[in-house]
């Protein structure tokens, strides 16, 4: 256990992890002032309810996608198509349930679709050498159309479905705690094992840091990049499953709209640089929680939910300015010039 905690503790001491945690704390404390009953947690119908639980609950889809995004960004890439992948996974569910498959198999179909999408992106970036933004733009544009087409396969008039199993995965609960939190915990743990308990994480970080040097050191950089997009496709597929099961209908046009932006933001808030080279899985989750906590605060403060966007924009700018070497140098030199 000591070995696991060591880098985490060191990161906190280095001050990099302290900012997102501090931001989260400030938001939650502010919420306490805005709404006196904010920290209340009660049990209704065998499940915990309350604002804190709600933040965790709602953050799951973004956090899932952000995890995959963190891996992709680690390779110095980006995946814009995650929202579309979620839409495709959702459409797969509606289709296969209508087709009468067992619901466990339906889940596999949805995740398989996510993996396939990830492989497509990975192929374009790693093997065709197309810039990540451009390569993933293709699926971003056409993915929602593919989702709508899948809906058409069975008539498309009513893409809603009933599935106790899938809804239990998304909105059910075990021992008072929402099932999707368990699902998330399991995926997080698995991904953490794959990234940190195998050498994949090191290879991703080496490739993102310096692809040429990694290649000469014997790392198969192309395969690593491919794998990163595959992982991102899988987590986006899972997010699609949870979002679609929540509404029990496949809505490719608007499901997970702009989620790629939230996911990228979560990675950046968590300390990941878009220049690649590092993966912080734990901090990425904190980043997603910061975003969700912001959204929830605006909701309970009575401001229109749309203000969320402005606050998000300001947070992005603030974080980026903090991360920018130029800005830091500029501020430092200002202080030096006028002692």
């Amino acid at each position: 256990m000591k070995l696991i905690e060591q880098p985490f503790v060191r990161r906190i001491l280095n001050g990099r992890a302290i900012w997102p945690l501090l931001a989260l704390a400030v938001i939650l404390i502010a919420d306490g002032f805005i709404s006196p009953g904010f920290y209340e947690i009660r049990i209704v119908e065998g499940r915990l309810f309350g604002n804190l639980i709600d933040i965790l609950y709602r953050a799951v889809p973004t956090a899932l996608i952000a995890l995959g995004m963190a891996v992709v960004i680690g390779t110095r890439g980006i995946d814009l198509s995650v929202g579309s992948i979620a839409a495709i996974a959702g459409a797969m569910i509606a289709w296969r349930i209508q087709a009468g498959d067992p619901h466990g198999v339906v889940l596999l179909y949805a995740l398989g679709a996510g993996i396939l999408c990830g492989m497509w992106n990975g192929m374009l970036v790693a093997f065709l050498g197309i810039q990540p933004i451009i390569a993933t733009l293709i699926l971003m544009v056409s993915g929602r159309g593919i989702g709508m087409l899948i809906n058409l396969i069975y008539g498309g008039t009513d893409p809603s479905f009933q599935s106790d199993f899938l809804q239990w995965l998304s909105t059910g609960s075990i021992l008072f705690i929402p099932t999707r939190l368990y699902v998330f915990a399991v995926i997080f743990l698995l991904l953490w094992l794959v990234i940190r308990r195998t050498a994949l994480g090191l290879f991703v970080e080496a490739t993102g840091g310096n692809a040429a040097a990694s290649n000469l050191a014997g790392v198969n950089a192309k395969l690593i990049i491919f794998a990163a997009y595959l992982i991102c496709g899988l987590t986006a597929g899972w997010a699609g499953v949870i979002l679609t099961a929540d509404t029990h209908t496949s809505d490719p046009v608007s499901v997970a709209l702009y989620i790629e932006l939230d996911a990228i933001l979560a990675v950046v808030i968590g300390g990941g640089s878009l220049a690649g080279g590092r993966i912080y899985l734990g901090m990425t989750v904190i980043g997603a929680l910061v975003i969700q906590a912001l959204t929830t605060s605006i909701l309970i403060s009575g401001l229109p939910p749309e203000y969320n966007l402005i606050i998000k924009a300001l947070v992005v700018l603030f974080v980026l300015v903090l991360q920018s070497d130029n800005a830091r140098r500029g501020i430092v030199s200002k202080f030096r010039r006028s002692p």
Binding site: I78, L128, G129, I130, Q131, I133, I134, A135, L137, I138, L139, M140, V141, S142, G143, R144, G145, I146, G147, M148, L149, L152, G156, P252, L261, I264, V268, L274, P304, E306, Y307, N308, L309, I310, I311, K312, A313, L314, V316, L317, L320, V321, S324, D325, N326, A327
Partner: protein
């Protein structure tokens, strides 16, 4: 010799060829498709996308990207409508909004160059900010009722063959002409191509990269604001969700128009055809009636893929940039 001369224009020729081919296919499938009337309608219906895409062309030529375009269209729309309800005339508000678009773009450009942050992420913040501001202005759909708006929409030029050039199409064609002059006959235009082609070389050759970058995004913002004005007057209303994901259509138009997303190669005129290809596809699919709008998205994606692979091939095999 002449093949070498023209290889830079290959993507542009490909775009024009694809446009003509799709138009002809449409003509073969539907009797009344191949007409000036349909062409005039496509021009009018897509003029705001094309205007925004013209601005995006400058940004992409310089090697950057601007995601704030769609939100800018929405924001300008609601401002136009709300100012209209306060009694301001559309001409004044249009000028105000274009000044705002220019300034907002300039600010984005300054942050991008001064802080050396990827344009993608800064303009993403711009997207959030402007969309949020839309809702601060109004959360309802607000009509534009000033009589000048009606006067504007009555402007039209008759084309041979029962076609009409509507006011938005006229504004679009004028902006296109202005953009072509700006891109190809000014120092600013030359500098945009230079920093998109090779930023470090351009710097060594004496180009002021900071000023050019600021201006590029300012021009992008200006055209996006103009697109918002045209859209608001076309629909005679402002709606806070208007223009959502339009930045993607704008970028797609630019790429389909033969401009390399890596910057430095492309023609402003190509963007007109790129936007028209997207417009043709949706018109064709709507003409069909039995096809779902899903096909619009998918065919855009397929075309994007084809063009990107083609660009990649051109860059690789002809050394377009090396």
């Amino acid at each position: 010799m002449s093949a070498l001369l023209n290889k830079k224009l290959l993507p542009f020729y490909a775009t024009v060829a694809v446009f003509i081919a799709i138009f002809l296919i449409g003509g073969a499938m539907y009797n009344n498709f191949l007409s000036m009337r349909v062409l005039g309608n496509i021009l009018a219906d897509n003029s705001f996308i094309i205007i925004a895409a013209i601005g995006a062309t400058f940004v992409i030529l310089s090697g950057g990207i601007d995601l704030s375009v769609g939100s800018m269209i929405g924001f300008v729309g609601v401002c136009m409508a709300v100012l209209d309800s306060m009694g301001l005339d559309p001409l004044t508000t249009a000028l105000l909004m274009m000044v705002f678009g220019f300034a907002f773009g300039a600010f984005q450009g300054w942050v991008i160059d001064a802080l050396d942050i990827q344009p993608f992420i800064i303009t993403l913040a711009g997207l959030f900010l402007l969309r949020g501001m839309c809702f601060m202005v109004t959360i309802n759909s607000v009509p534009i009722t000033h009589e000048w708006a009606d006067l504007y929409s009555d402007i039209r030029i008759r084309l041979p063959g029962n076609g009409l050039l509507r006011s938005s199409a006229i504004v679009m064609l004028i902006s296109l002409a202005a953009a072509i002059i700006l891109a190809h006959f000014t120092r600013f235009g030359a500098n945009v191509y230079a920093i998109g082609g090779d930023k470090e070389s351009a710097r060594l050759m004496g180009v002021n990269v900071r000023r050019t970058t600021v201006l590029v995004y300012a021009v992008g913002g200006l055209f996006a604001a103009l697109a918002g004005v045209v859209y608001a007057l076309y629909t005679k209303s402002g709606y806070p969700l208007a223009g959502t994901t339009l930045e993607l259509s704008a970028i797609a138009s630019v790429v389909l128009g033969g401009t390399l997303l890596t910057g430095g190669v492309g023609l402003v005129a190509g963007t007109l055809f790129g936007g028209m290809i997207l417009g043709l596809i949706s018109t064709l699919i709507i003409f069909n009636g039995s096809l779902n709008s899903a096909w619009i998205l998918i065919s855009s994606g397929v075309l994007l893929f084809a063009f990107m692979v083609m660009h990649r091939f051109l860059v690789g095999s002809f050394g377009l940039r090396d």
